[in-house]
Amino acid sequence: MNATTATPDLKVSSAVKRFGDHLAVDELSFSVARGSFFSILGPSGCGKTTLLRMIAGFIQPDAGDILIGGRSMRGVAPNRRPVNMVFQQLALFPMMSVGENVAFGLARRGVGRAERTGKAAEMLERVGLGGAARKKVDELSGGQRQRVAIARSLVLEPTLLLLDEPLGALDLKLREHMKIELKQLQAAFGTTFVYITHDQSEALVLSDHVGVMNHGRFEQLGTPQQLYYEPATPFVAGFVGANNRITGRARALNGSVVEVATADGWVIHARASTPVSVGSAVEAFVRPEAATLGRTAAELPAGQPSHAGEVESLLFDGANSAVLLRESATRFEFRIALPQTGRYADLKVGERILFSFDPDRAVCFPAGVSHG
């Protein structure tokens, strides 16, 4: 069966949830293909937790429907849904051993003691915790607990595994490690994962598809590459990855390239992702790695409009190092990634330098527009 023609594991159609005056989820529709890793990315308060809890069944939608494995979940209680959830704080049962935690769901399904103990041990083995069944939950490290929480859900072979920012409580190093581990686990089990996070890096690294959520709607739904290189709205451009945001007015149009002038009079060129009209307010976004630095005009790629600036500060972060410039005439702050070759490692604060970027790699939107 082809993944695109098969029934999607999750289909949300026009789901609405309102808390008093606040519209938490606003007529949201999307579907998640079988076996894929889907992330919902958004700032806190965007409605992603509400959406996840509706899928899990802890909240009923006011309107619309949620189908899991092609079956409507209207009126189906959480304990009867083919869905399991990994909670933000993991919610492992401290009164039980690791093995009992994993076997809990099986016991509730009436699986016999011997069989569930065997299955739990097998599942722990698969997540790399073989022999930990007798341990107590508080004897495990953060990463191990994470794996127990996932094992506890996956042992029930759910159609859908929901993950509610499970890496949020871990420290940075472990988080990076668990990101990779999660992706490997998902690939090994083939279960459909629906993952919510406010961390754009987690969403980009892990997912096959990402829905960027804001004010209860999806601003954009696409692959991580699409979100990064072809953001559909200013919100996505600003939220996914680092970006220089330049607001101004469209002074002229040259095909799809807009000439943007800031209030202070700095002029740049960017590609219009949606049509803009001359004289209207616009927002342009330039990725730090899209711009090139040069000490002389000859070092810059030919044919690109060049700009001059002074080094404001140097942001050393290994491979992610960048330099913060101020445009010479308007003092506009602009961030440029330093090349990995180590060139310009000798830049000094206050030094004057030239830079340019391909207008095609900068995107321009009509100001204040966002759509779902």
């Binding site: 304990n79 869905v83 399991n84 959830m85 909670f87 704080q89 009164m95 809990f104 509730r108 029930l156």
Partner: protein, 293 residues
């Protein structure tokens, strides 16, 4: 160079001074009277002002079926009353800890506390006004045609239990609320998500988590009930047959302090052993439980 020696003894002195009033209190009001009572209970009067050391007082207790009967009855009634209090207090505590939000929770707590603003005597007399033959409740029953003539609702075992549960409720609710409040809601959701239902979640998640609180509440309520004098006497009348009444009778009516002291020690032994059995059965440690009260 040992600069820890000085501060160490100073600290110990400080702790000793701070604890002194409490220790003095404990010694004067608990240890001393008990030592005296122990000595009292171990002597027998052979002639006026002549005493010998003997176990006669304890022998009397074991030889007299009436004392035995009252002793066991008090223990059983206290146990029943403790269990009833737990059954009634648990839903109340759950509502306060998990369902009521903000001010409603505080309000419910105050409602549980209000009866304690009135003295126990007045509260119990209140029950008597409600339940006596010419009282409020029998009157209502007649008015509604449920009973033909007013019935006496006082002086039954059930009446004693009602009074005891009412008196003990707060002491069960408080430790239960604190132990249920510390239960992370996501544990309940996770159990539900993994296929659990109300009963299995209660049995496997909620009760194991709340066990120290449950044990603490039960110990406190059991001790209070066992040692209660006023409620069984007033609500049970002559038929109450509570062991504390026997102690009172020995000390005050019969002026047989030796026998009363022996009874007192037997009651102490009873409550201590019941607490011990309770802790063993629930698999709790005394120190953990006491932290919950």
């Amino acid at each position: 160079m040992d600069d820890t020696a000085g501060p160490a003894w100073q600290r110990r002195l400080m702790v000793g001074l701070l604890l002194a009033p409490a220790l003095l209190w404990l010694f004067a009001l608990i240890v001393l009277p008990h030592v005296d009572l122990a000595l009292l209970s171990l002597r027998e009067r052979t002639a006026p002002r002549e005493y010998v050391t003997s176990l006669a007082q304890y022998r009397t207790f074991f030889g007299e079926p009436l004392y035995w009967h009252i002793f066991v009855r008090t223990a059983v009634m206290s146990l029943i009353s403790t269990l009833l209090t737990l059954l009634i207090a648990f839903p109340i505590a759950w509502t306060i800890a998990k369902l009521a939000r903000g001010r409603l929770g505080t309000l419910l707590f105050i409602v549980c506390l209000i009866p304690f603003w009135v003295s126990e005597t007045v509260r119990t007399l209140g029950w008597m006004i409600l339940l006596r033959e010419s009282g409020v409740l029998p009157g209502i029953l007649v008015h509604l045609g449920i009973t033909a003539v007013p019935v006496e609702l006082l002086y039954h075992d059930a009446t004693i239990l009602v009074g005891l549960v009412y008196t003990s409720l707060l002491f069960m609710v408080v430790p239960l609320v604190s132990s249920l409040e510390s239960l992370d809601n996501s544990l309940i959701e996770a159990a539900y998500d993994l296929g659990g239902n109300g009963l299995s979640i209660l049995r496997q998640i909620v009760i194991p988590h709340a066990l120290p609180g449950i044990t603490a509440g039960c110990i406190v309520v059991f001790m209070l009930t066992l040692g209660n004098y006023l409620t069984p006497t007033l609500l049970g009348g002559t038929s109450s047959q509570w062991f504390t009444e026997q102690i009172y009778t020995q000390f005050i009516t019969r002026f047989n302090w030796e026998q009363g002291a022996a009874f007192g020690f037997l009651l102490l032994a009873l409550s201590t052993s019941m607490v011990w059995v309770g802790l063993k059965l629930s698999g709790q440690r005394f120190s953990d439980v006491m932290r919950r009260t």
